[in-house]
Protein backbone atom coordinates (compact mmCIF):
# COMPACT_ATOMS: atom_id res chain seq x y z
CA UNK A 1 0.00 0.00 0.00
CA UNK A 2 2.79 2.41 0.93
CA UNK A 3 4.73 1.52 -2.24
CA UNK A 4 1.62 2.03 -4.39
CA UNK A 5 1.10 5.49 -2.93
CA UNK A 6 4.80 6.33 -3.17
CA UNK A 7 4.85 5.29 -6.84
CA UNK A 8 1.74 7.33 -7.59
CA UNK A 9 3.33 10.29 -5.76
CA UNK A 10 6.46 10.03 -7.90
CA UNK A 11 4.39 9.84 -11.10
CA UNK A 12 2.49 12.94 -10.02
CA UNK A 13 5.78 14.78 -9.42
CA UNK A 14 6.88 13.78 -12.93
CA UNK A 15 3.78 15.53 -14.28
CA UNK A 16 4.36 18.51 -12.01
CA UNK A 17 7.87 19.16 -13.31
CA UNK A 18 6.97 19.34 -17.01
CA UNK A 19 7.60 22.49 -18.99
CA UNK A 20 4.82 25.02 -18.26
CA UNK A 21 2.51 26.16 -21.05
CA UNK A 22 3.20 29.82 -20.32
CA UNK A 23 5.80 30.93 -17.80
CA UNK A 24 4.15 34.34 -17.34
CA UNK A 25 0.99 32.72 -15.96
CA UNK A 26 2.95 30.33 -13.77
CA UNK A 27 5.10 33.21 -12.48
CA UNK A 28 1.96 35.03 -11.40
CA UNK A 29 0.82 31.91 -9.54
CA UNK A 30 4.25 31.46 -7.93
CA UNK A 31 4.17 35.05 -6.61
CA UNK A 32 0.65 34.50 -5.29
CA UNK A 33 1.69 31.31 -3.50
CA UNK A 34 4.81 32.93 -2.08
CA UNK A 35 2.60 35.60 -0.58
CA UNK A 36 0.17 33.02 0.81
CA UNK A 37 2.81 30.71 2.23
CA UNK A 38 5.40 33.28 3.28
CA UNK A 39 3.69 36.50 4.28
CA UNK A 40 0.58 34.66 5.36
CA UNK A 41 2.50 32.53 7.88
CA UNK A 42 4.90 35.20 9.14
CA UNK A 43 2.87 36.30 12.14
CA UNK A 44 2.33 32.77 13.35
CA UNK A 45 6.02 31.87 13.03
CA UNK A 46 7.13 35.02 14.88
CA UNK A 47 4.79 34.34 17.80
CA UNK A 48 5.53 30.64 18.10
CA UNK A 49 9.30 31.02 17.76
CA UNK A 50 9.51 33.86 20.26
CA UNK A 51 7.72 31.81 22.88
CA UNK A 52 9.80 28.72 22.14
CA UNK A 53 12.99 30.74 22.56
CA UNK A 54 11.79 32.19 25.86
CA UNK A 55 10.70 28.81 27.22
CA UNK A 56 13.94 27.15 26.10
CA UNK A 57 15.99 29.76 27.96
CA UNK A 58 14.09 29.17 31.18
CA UNK A 59 14.25 25.38 30.89
CA UNK A 60 17.98 25.38 30.16
CA UNK A 61 18.52 27.67 33.15
CA UNK A 62 16.48 25.27 35.30
CA UNK A 63 18.66 22.36 34.30
CA UNK A 64 21.92 24.28 34.74
CA UNK A 65 22.51 23.22 38.35
CA UNK A 66 26.30 23.48 38.55
CA UNK A 67 27.93 26.77 39.54
CA UNK A 68 30.98 25.76 37.54
CA UNK A 69 29.12 26.28 34.27
CA UNK A 70 28.78 29.94 33.25
CA UNK A 71 25.25 31.18 32.52
CA UNK A 72 26.38 32.35 29.10
CA UNK A 73 26.07 28.68 28.12
CA UNK A 74 22.31 29.20 28.19
CA UNK A 75 22.58 31.52 25.20
CA UNK A 76 24.86 29.12 23.38
CA UNK A 77 22.59 26.11 23.91
CA UNK A 78 19.49 28.09 23.00
CA UNK A 79 21.17 29.33 19.82
CA UNK A 80 22.33 25.92 18.63
CA UNK A 81 19.09 24.15 19.61
CA UNK A 82 17.01 26.62 17.67
CA UNK A 83 19.27 26.70 14.64
CA UNK A 84 19.73 22.95 14.37
CA UNK A 85 16.35 21.63 15.44
CA UNK A 86 13.63 23.76 16.96
CA UNK A 87 13.66 26.49 14.32
CA UNK A 88 13.36 24.27 11.25
CA UNK A 89 11.39 21.37 12.70
CA UNK A 90 8.85 23.09 14.94
CA UNK A 91 8.25 25.68 12.22
CA UNK A 92 7.78 22.91 9.66
CA UNK A 93 5.32 21.03 11.83
CA UNK A 94 3.31 24.19 12.44
CA UNK A 95 3.40 25.08 8.75
CA UNK A 96 2.32 21.57 7.78
CA UNK A 97 -0.81 22.14 9.80
CA UNK A 98 -1.47 25.62 8.40
CA UNK A 99 -0.15 25.54 4.86
CA UNK A 100 -0.42 21.82 4.21
CA UNK A 101 -4.05 21.50 5.23
CA UNK A 102 -4.89 24.59 3.18
CA UNK A 103 -3.21 23.17 0.06
CA UNK A 104 -4.88 19.79 0.46
CA UNK A 105 -8.32 21.30 1.02
CA UNK A 106 -7.97 23.74 -1.86
CA UNK A 107 -6.87 21.15 -4.42
CA UNK A 108 -9.27 18.54 -3.05
CA UNK A 109 -12.19 20.94 -3.39
CA UNK A 110 -11.15 21.68 -6.96
CA UNK A 111 -11.10 17.94 -7.65
CA UNK A 112 -14.60 17.23 -6.30
CA UNK A 113 -16.10 20.25 -8.10
CA UNK A 114 -14.56 19.13 -11.45
CA UNK A 115 -12.34 22.22 -11.73
CA UNK A 116 -9.32 19.94 -12.28
CA UNK A 117 -11.23 18.10 -15.01
CA UNK A 118 -11.98 21.49 -16.60
CA UNK A 119 -8.25 22.31 -16.61
CA UNK A 120 -7.38 18.98 -18.21
CA UNK A 121 -10.06 19.29 -20.87
CA UNK A 122 -8.67 22.71 -21.79
CA UNK A 123 -5.35 20.97 -22.46
CA UNK A 124 -3.62 22.40 -19.39
CA UNK A 125 -1.24 20.24 -17.35
CA UNK A 126 -3.28 20.40 -14.13
CA UNK A 127 -0.55 19.02 -11.80
CA UNK A 128 1.91 21.52 -13.20
CA UNK A 129 -0.41 24.51 -13.02
CA UNK A 130 -1.78 23.75 -9.55
CA UNK A 131 1.15 22.14 -7.75
CA UNK A 132 4.41 23.46 -9.24
CA UNK A 133 3.86 27.07 -8.05
CA UNK A 134 3.15 25.78 -4.54
CA UNK A 135 6.30 23.64 -4.44
CA UNK A 136 8.51 26.43 -5.77
CA UNK A 137 6.99 28.91 -3.33
CA UNK A 138 7.46 26.41 -0.50
CA UNK A 139 11.15 25.75 -1.10
CA UNK A 140 11.81 29.50 -1.28
CA UNK A 141 9.62 30.90 1.48
CA UNK A 142 9.89 28.17 4.12
CA UNK A 143 13.68 28.56 4.46
CA UNK A 144 13.06 32.30 4.78
CA UNK A 145 10.48 31.63 7.49
CA UNK A 146 12.92 29.30 9.27
CA UNK A 147 15.54 32.08 9.35
CA UNK A 148 12.92 34.40 10.83
CA UNK A 149 11.97 31.67 13.33
CA UNK A 150 15.56 31.21 14.46
CA UNK A 151 16.06 34.95 14.87
CA UNK A 152 12.79 35.33 16.80
CA UNK A 153 13.66 32.37 19.05
CA UNK A 154 17.03 33.85 19.92
CA UNK A 155 15.48 37.25 20.65
CA UNK A 156 12.65 35.56 22.54
CA UNK A 157 15.25 33.78 24.63
CA UNK A 158 16.92 37.09 25.45
CA UNK A 159 13.64 38.68 26.51
CA UNK A 160 12.42 35.59 28.37
CA UNK A 161 15.70 35.22 30.19
CA UNK A 162 15.74 38.87 31.21
CA UNK A 163 12.11 38.87 32.41
CA UNK A 164 12.44 35.62 34.36
CA UNK A 165 15.89 36.44 35.69
CA UNK A 166 17.24 33.15 34.37
CA UNK A 167 20.11 34.87 32.60
CA UNK A 168 21.23 38.46 32.22
CA UNK A 169 21.11 39.98 28.75
CA UNK A 170 24.88 40.44 28.79
CA UNK A 171 25.56 36.80 29.59
CA UNK A 172 22.97 35.67 27.05
CA UNK A 173 24.48 37.77 24.28
CA UNK A 174 27.96 36.54 25.18
CA UNK A 175 26.62 33.02 24.89
CA UNK A 176 24.99 33.43 21.48
CA UNK A 177 28.16 34.95 20.02
CA UNK A 178 30.50 32.40 21.57
CA UNK A 179 31.82 29.46 19.51
CA UNK A 180 29.37 30.00 16.69
CA UNK A 181 29.66 27.33 13.97
CA UNK A 182 28.24 28.58 10.67
CA UNK A 183 27.74 25.01 9.48
CA UNK A 184 24.73 24.74 11.77
CA UNK A 185 22.97 27.34 9.61
CA UNK A 186 23.68 25.22 6.54
CA UNK A 187 22.09 22.25 8.25
CA UNK A 188 19.07 24.37 9.14
CA UNK A 189 18.67 25.58 5.57
CA UNK A 190 19.01 22.10 4.09
CA UNK A 191 16.32 20.93 6.47
CA UNK A 192 14.14 23.92 5.60
CA UNK A 193 14.33 23.29 1.84
CA UNK A 194 13.48 19.62 2.27
CA UNK A 195 10.68 20.43 4.69
CA UNK A 196 9.35 23.06 2.27
CA UNK A 197 9.12 20.42 -0.44
CA UNK A 198 7.36 17.99 1.90
CA UNK A 199 4.91 20.60 3.24
CA UNK A 200 3.72 21.45 -0.28
CA UNK A 201 4.00 18.21 -2.25
CA UNK A 202 2.41 15.66 0.09
CA UNK A 203 -0.79 17.64 0.77
CA UNK A 204 -1.00 18.46 -2.94
CA UNK A 205 -0.81 14.74 -3.73
CA UNK A 206 -3.54 13.89 -1.22
CA UNK A 207 -5.81 16.65 -2.50
CA UNK A 208 -5.23 15.85 -6.17
CA UNK A 209 -6.38 12.25 -5.85
CA UNK A 210 -9.31 12.75 -3.48
CA UNK A 211 -12.60 11.18 -4.57
CA UNK A 212 -15.98 11.91 -3.07
CA UNK A 213 -17.29 15.03 -1.39
CA UNK A 214 -16.70 17.38 1.51
CA UNK A 215 -16.13 14.54 3.97
CA UNK A 216 -13.41 12.96 1.84
CA UNK A 217 -11.74 16.36 1.29
CA UNK A 218 -11.57 16.86 5.04
CA UNK A 219 -10.23 13.34 5.57
CA UNK A 220 -7.60 13.86 2.87
CA UNK A 221 -6.52 17.10 4.52
CA UNK A 222 -6.17 15.45 7.94
CA UNK A 223 -4.33 12.48 6.47
CA UNK A 224 -2.00 14.80 4.55
CA UNK A 225 -1.03 16.61 7.75
CA UNK A 226 -0.39 13.37 9.63
CA UNK A 227 1.66 11.79 6.83
CA UNK A 228 3.48 15.07 6.25
CA UNK A 229 4.44 15.47 9.91
CA UNK A 230 5.79 11.93 10.08
CA UNK A 231 7.73 12.49 6.86
CA UNK A 232 9.18 15.73 8.22
CA UNK A 233 10.39 14.00 11.38
CA UNK A 234 11.84 11.07 9.45
CA UNK A 235 13.70 13.34 7.05
CA UNK A 236 14.84 15.45 10.00
CA UNK A 237 16.51 12.36 11.44
CA UNK A 238 18.09 11.40 8.10
CA UNK A 239 19.48 14.88 7.43
CA UNK A 240 20.85 15.17 10.96
CA UNK A 241 22.50 11.75 10.69
CA UNK A 242 24.04 12.60 7.34
CA UNK A 243 25.24 16.12 8.07
CA UNK A 244 26.25 16.04 11.71
Amino acid sequence: MFLAHFGKYLLLLKSVFKRPEKWRIYWREIMHEMNEIGIGSLGLIVIISSFIGAVMTMQIAFQLVSDLIPTSVIGQINRDSNILELGPTISALVLMGKVGSSISSQIGSMRVTEQIDALEIMGINAPGYLILPKILAGVVMIPALVIVAIACAIVGGLVGGAISGAVTPTDYINGITDNFNGFTVSVALVKAVVFGFIITSIPAYKGFYVRGGALEVGQASTHAVVVGCITILASDYIITALML
Binding site: E21, M110, T113, Q115, D117, A118, I121, M122, G123
Partner: protein
Protein backbone atom coordinates in the same frame (compact mmCIF):
# COMPACT_ATOMS: atom_id res chain seq x y z
CA UNK B 1 -17.16 15.03 -36.76
CA UNK B 2 -16.62 12.72 -33.81
CA UNK B 3 -16.76 8.95 -34.21
CA UNK B 4 -16.76 6.48 -31.36
CA UNK B 5 -16.18 2.80 -32.11
CA UNK B 6 -16.89 -0.11 -29.80
CA UNK B 7 -16.31 1.75 -26.52
CA UNK B 8 -16.04 -0.52 -23.49
CA UNK B 9 -15.44 0.73 -19.96
CA UNK B 10 -15.55 -1.06 -16.63
CA UNK B 11 -14.83 -0.01 -13.08
CA UNK B 12 -13.81 -3.23 -11.34
CA UNK B 13 -16.65 -5.70 -11.86
CA UNK B 14 -19.06 -2.98 -12.95
CA UNK B 15 -19.29 -2.98 -16.77
CA UNK B 16 -20.55 0.52 -17.43
CA UNK B 17 -20.14 0.73 -21.21
CA UNK B 18 -20.58 -2.31 -23.42
CA UNK B 19 -19.54 -1.73 -27.02
CA UNK B 20 -20.99 1.65 -27.96
CA UNK B 21 -20.47 3.00 -31.48
CA UNK B 22 -21.86 6.21 -32.95
CA UNK B 23 -20.94 9.28 -34.97
CA UNK B 24 -21.72 12.89 -34.25
CA UNK B 25 -21.94 15.44 -37.03
CA UNK B 26 -20.83 19.06 -37.04
CA UNK B 27 -23.55 21.68 -36.83
CA UNK B 28 -25.88 19.25 -35.07
CA UNK B 29 -26.83 18.67 -31.46
CA UNK B 30 -26.61 15.04 -30.39
CA UNK B 31 -28.22 14.12 -27.09
CA UNK B 32 -27.20 11.14 -25.01
CA UNK B 33 -30.06 10.10 -22.74
CA UNK B 34 -30.68 7.22 -20.41
CA UNK B 35 -31.51 6.33 -16.87
CA UNK B 36 -29.19 6.90 -13.91
CA UNK B 37 -26.26 4.50 -14.12
CA UNK B 38 -26.73 3.81 -17.83
CA UNK B 39 -23.25 5.17 -18.61
CA UNK B 40 -24.01 8.58 -20.11
CA UNK B 41 -21.48 10.63 -18.17
CA UNK B 42 -18.90 7.84 -18.41
CA UNK B 43 -19.30 7.85 -22.20
CA UNK B 44 -18.90 11.62 -22.30
CA UNK B 45 -15.76 11.43 -20.15
CA UNK B 46 -14.33 8.71 -22.40
CA UNK B 47 -14.88 10.99 -25.38
CA UNK B 48 -13.08 13.96 -23.84
CA UNK B 49 -10.28 11.84 -22.43
CA UNK B 50 -11.06 12.05 -18.72
CA UNK B 51 -11.52 8.27 -18.69
CA UNK B 52 -9.45 5.81 -20.70
CA UNK B 53 -11.74 3.28 -22.43
CA UNK B 54 -10.85 -0.36 -21.86
CA UNK B 55 -11.52 -0.97 -25.54
CA UNK B 56 -12.55 1.09 -28.53
CA UNK B 57 -11.57 4.34 -30.16
CA UNK B 58 -12.63 7.96 -30.15
CA UNK B 59 -11.86 9.76 -33.41
CA UNK B 60 -11.94 13.53 -33.82
CA UNK B 61 -12.06 14.43 -37.54
CA UNK B 62 -9.99 11.41 -38.51
CA UNK B 63 -7.52 11.60 -35.62
CA UNK B 64 -7.50 8.74 -33.12
CA UNK B 65 -7.80 10.55 -29.78
CA UNK B 66 -7.55 7.41 -27.65
CA UNK B 67 -4.03 6.55 -28.87
CA UNK B 68 -2.62 10.00 -28.14
CA UNK B 69 -0.66 10.93 -25.03
CA UNK B 70 -1.38 14.12 -23.09
CA UNK B 71 0.83 16.41 -25.19
CA UNK B 72 -0.51 15.05 -28.49
CA UNK B 73 -4.07 15.69 -27.32
CA UNK B 74 -3.47 19.38 -26.59
CA UNK B 75 -4.22 20.65 -30.16
CA UNK B 76 -7.55 18.78 -30.17
CA UNK B 77 -8.33 19.88 -26.62
CA UNK B 78 -7.91 23.51 -27.63
CA UNK B 79 -10.86 22.94 -29.97
CA UNK B 80 -13.02 21.44 -27.23
CA UNK B 81 -15.40 23.46 -25.11
CA UNK B 82 -17.07 21.74 -22.19
CA UNK B 83 -19.91 22.74 -19.92
CA UNK B 84 -19.92 20.76 -16.69
CA UNK B 85 -22.93 19.80 -14.62
CA UNK B 86 -21.85 22.13 -11.81
CA UNK B 87 -20.19 24.59 -14.19
CA UNK B 88 -16.69 23.92 -12.73
CA UNK B 89 -15.84 27.61 -12.65
CA UNK B 90 -12.54 28.42 -10.93
CA UNK B 91 -13.57 29.73 -7.50
CA UNK B 92 -10.54 31.94 -6.98
CA UNK B 93 -11.08 33.81 -10.27
CA UNK B 94 -13.62 36.40 -11.31
CA UNK B 95 -16.00 35.81 -14.21
CA UNK B 96 -13.66 37.78 -16.46
CA UNK B 97 -10.62 35.74 -15.37
CA UNK B 98 -12.53 32.48 -15.85
CA UNK B 99 -13.54 33.30 -19.42
CA UNK B 100 -10.11 34.77 -20.23
CA UNK B 101 -8.19 31.80 -18.82
CA UNK B 102 -8.00 29.66 -22.01
CA UNK B 103 -7.09 32.77 -24.02
CA UNK B 104 -4.26 33.57 -21.61
CA UNK B 105 -2.87 30.06 -21.72
CA UNK B 106 -3.07 29.37 -25.43
CA UNK B 107 -3.13 32.61 -27.41
CA UNK B 108 -0.76 35.49 -28.08
CA UNK B 109 -3.58 38.03 -28.01
CA UNK B 110 -2.96 41.39 -26.39
CA UNK B 111 -4.69 42.27 -23.13
CA UNK B 112 -7.14 44.50 -25.01
CA UNK B 113 -7.97 41.79 -27.55
CA UNK B 114 -8.57 39.25 -24.80
CA UNK B 115 -10.80 41.67 -22.94
CA UNK B 116 -12.82 42.32 -26.10
CA UNK B 117 -13.24 38.59 -26.66
CA UNK B 118 -14.32 38.08 -23.02
CA UNK B 119 -16.86 40.90 -23.27
CA UNK B 120 -18.15 39.45 -26.55
CA UNK B 121 -18.61 36.01 -24.96
CA UNK B 122 -20.35 37.47 -21.90
CA UNK B 123 -22.66 39.52 -24.14
CA UNK B 124 -23.37 36.37 -26.11
CA UNK B 125 -24.64 34.61 -22.99
CA UNK B 126 -26.48 37.73 -21.86
CA UNK B 127 -24.23 38.51 -18.90
CA UNK B 128 -22.69 41.86 -19.79
CA UNK B 129 -21.07 43.72 -16.91
CA UNK B 130 -20.61 40.63 -14.74
CA UNK B 131 -16.84 40.68 -15.24
CA UNK B 132 -15.83 41.41 -11.65
CA UNK B 133 -18.18 38.96 -9.94
CA UNK B 134 -16.88 35.76 -8.37
CA UNK B 135 -18.61 32.39 -8.93
CA UNK B 136 -19.91 32.42 -5.34
CA UNK B 137 -21.89 35.56 -6.18
CA UNK B 138 -23.66 34.00 -9.17
CA UNK B 139 -26.94 32.12 -9.40
CA UNK B 140 -27.05 28.61 -10.87
CA UNK B 141 -28.21 29.85 -14.24
CA UNK B 142 -25.57 32.57 -14.33
CA UNK B 143 -22.86 30.02 -13.53
CA UNK B 144 -24.02 27.85 -16.41
CA UNK B 145 -23.95 30.84 -18.75
CA UNK B 146 -20.43 31.80 -17.62
CA UNK B 147 -19.48 28.16 -18.18
CA UNK B 148 -20.80 28.43 -21.73
CA UNK B 149 -18.95 31.74 -22.22
CA UNK B 150 -15.72 30.08 -21.13
CA UNK B 151 -16.42 27.08 -23.36
CA UNK B 152 -16.87 29.27 -26.45
CA UNK B 153 -14.02 31.70 -25.77
CA UNK B 154 -11.68 29.73 -28.05
CA UNK B 155 -14.36 29.26 -30.76
CA UNK B 156 -14.59 25.51 -30.27
CA UNK B 157 -15.15 22.91 -32.97
CA UNK B 158 -16.53 20.47 -30.41
CA UNK B 159 -18.91 21.33 -27.58
CA UNK B 160 -19.68 18.89 -24.78
CA UNK B 161 -22.37 19.56 -22.18
CA UNK B 162 -22.88 17.37 -19.13
CA UNK B 163 -26.44 17.84 -17.85
CA UNK B 164 -26.51 21.56 -18.67
CA UNK B 165 -30.01 22.05 -17.25
CA UNK B 166 -29.44 20.23 -14.00
CA UNK B 167 -30.71 22.28 -11.06
CA UNK B 168 -32.24 25.02 -13.22
CA UNK B 169 -35.83 26.23 -13.33
CA UNK B 170 -37.72 25.46 -16.58
CA UNK B 171 -37.44 29.02 -17.90
CA UNK B 172 -33.69 29.22 -17.40
CA UNK B 173 -33.29 25.71 -18.81
CA UNK B 174 -34.91 26.88 -22.04
CA UNK B 175 -32.49 29.84 -22.15
CA UNK B 176 -29.55 27.45 -21.83
CA UNK B 177 -30.96 25.15 -24.52
CA UNK B 178 -31.40 28.07 -26.89
CA UNK B 179 -27.85 29.23 -26.21
CA UNK B 180 -26.49 25.78 -26.99
CA UNK B 181 -28.54 25.68 -30.19
CA UNK B 182 -27.45 29.15 -31.32
CA UNK B 183 -23.79 28.42 -30.59
CA UNK B 184 -23.93 25.11 -32.45
CA UNK B 185 -25.33 26.85 -35.53
CA UNK B 186 -22.99 29.83 -35.27
CA UNK B 187 -19.77 27.88 -34.82
CA UNK B 188 -20.96 24.77 -36.72
CA UNK B 189 -19.53 22.75 -33.85
CA UNK B 190 -20.17 19.12 -33.10
CA UNK B 191 -22.31 19.37 -29.99
CA UNK B 192 -22.92 16.47 -27.63
CA UNK B 193 -25.22 16.89 -24.66
CA UNK B 194 -25.83 14.42 -21.84
CA UNK B 195 -29.21 15.13 -20.34
CA UNK B 196 -32.25 13.90 -18.46
CA UNK B 197 -34.32 16.85 -19.59
CA UNK B 198 -37.12 15.76 -21.91
CA UNK B 199 -37.75 19.37 -22.94
CA UNK B 200 -34.22 19.44 -24.33
CA UNK B 201 -34.76 16.10 -26.04
CA UNK B 202 -37.88 17.33 -27.79
CA UNK B 203 -36.62 20.87 -28.29
CA UNK B 204 -33.03 20.80 -29.51
CA UNK B 205 -32.09 17.17 -30.13
CA UNK B 206 -31.17 16.65 -33.79
CA UNK B 207 -29.96 13.16 -32.93
CA UNK B 208 -30.67 11.13 -29.82
CA UNK B 209 -28.78 8.18 -28.42
CA UNK B 210 -30.59 6.20 -25.77
CA UNK B 211 -28.33 4.16 -23.51
CA UNK B 212 -29.66 1.23 -21.54
CA UNK B 213 -27.52 -1.01 -19.34
CA UNK B 214 -24.34 0.31 -20.95
CA UNK B 215 -25.45 -0.36 -24.52
CA UNK B 216 -26.74 1.87 -27.29
CA UNK B 217 -30.36 0.76 -27.20
CA UNK B 218 -31.86 3.19 -29.67
CA UNK B 219 -30.74 5.97 -32.01
CA UNK B 220 -32.81 8.45 -33.95
CA UNK B 221 -34.21 11.96 -34.10
CA UNK B 222 -36.54 13.71 -31.68
CA UNK B 223 -39.39 13.16 -34.14
CA UNK B 224 -38.70 9.43 -34.45
CA UNK B 225 -38.58 9.06 -30.66
CA UNK B 226 -42.33 9.58 -30.38
CA UNK B 227 -43.03 6.82 -32.89
CA UNK B 228 -40.58 4.28 -31.49
CA UNK B 229 -41.90 1.01 -30.14
CA UNK B 230 -38.78 0.26 -28.06
CA UNK B 231 -40.21 -0.56 -24.62
CA UNK B 232 -37.26 0.66 -22.56
CA UNK B 233 -37.09 3.94 -24.49
CA UNK B 234 -40.80 4.62 -24.09
CA UNK B 235 -40.63 3.78 -20.36
CA UNK B 236 -37.85 6.33 -19.99
CA UNK B 237 -39.09 9.18 -22.21
CA UNK B 238 -42.77 8.95 -21.27
CA UNK B 239 -42.27 8.07 -17.62
CA UNK B 240 -44.02 11.16 -16.31
CA UNK B 241 -47.83 11.38 -16.61
CA UNK B 242 -47.40 14.77 -18.32
CA UNK B 243 -45.19 13.33 -21.06
CA UNK B 244 -47.42 10.27 -21.40
CA UNK B 245 -50.41 12.56 -21.96
CA UNK B 246 -48.44 14.76 -24.34
CA UNK B 247 -47.45 11.70 -26.38
CA UNK B 248 -50.98 11.53 -27.69
CA UNK B 249 -50.46 14.93 -29.34
CA UNK B 250 -47.23 13.96 -31.15
Amino acid sequence: MITIENIHKSFGDNHVLDGISAYFEPGKISLIIGGSGSGKSTLLKCMVGLHVPDEGTVIFDGEDFTQMDFEERVPIRKDIGMLFQNSALFDSMTVEQNVMFPLEMFTQMSRQEKLERVNFCLERVNLPGSNKLFPAELSGGMKKRVGIARAISMSPKYLFCDEPNSGLDPETAIVIDELIQDITEEYQCTTIVVTHDMNSVMGIGDKILFLYKGQKWWEGSNKEITRSDVKELNSFVFASPFMAAAKKNF
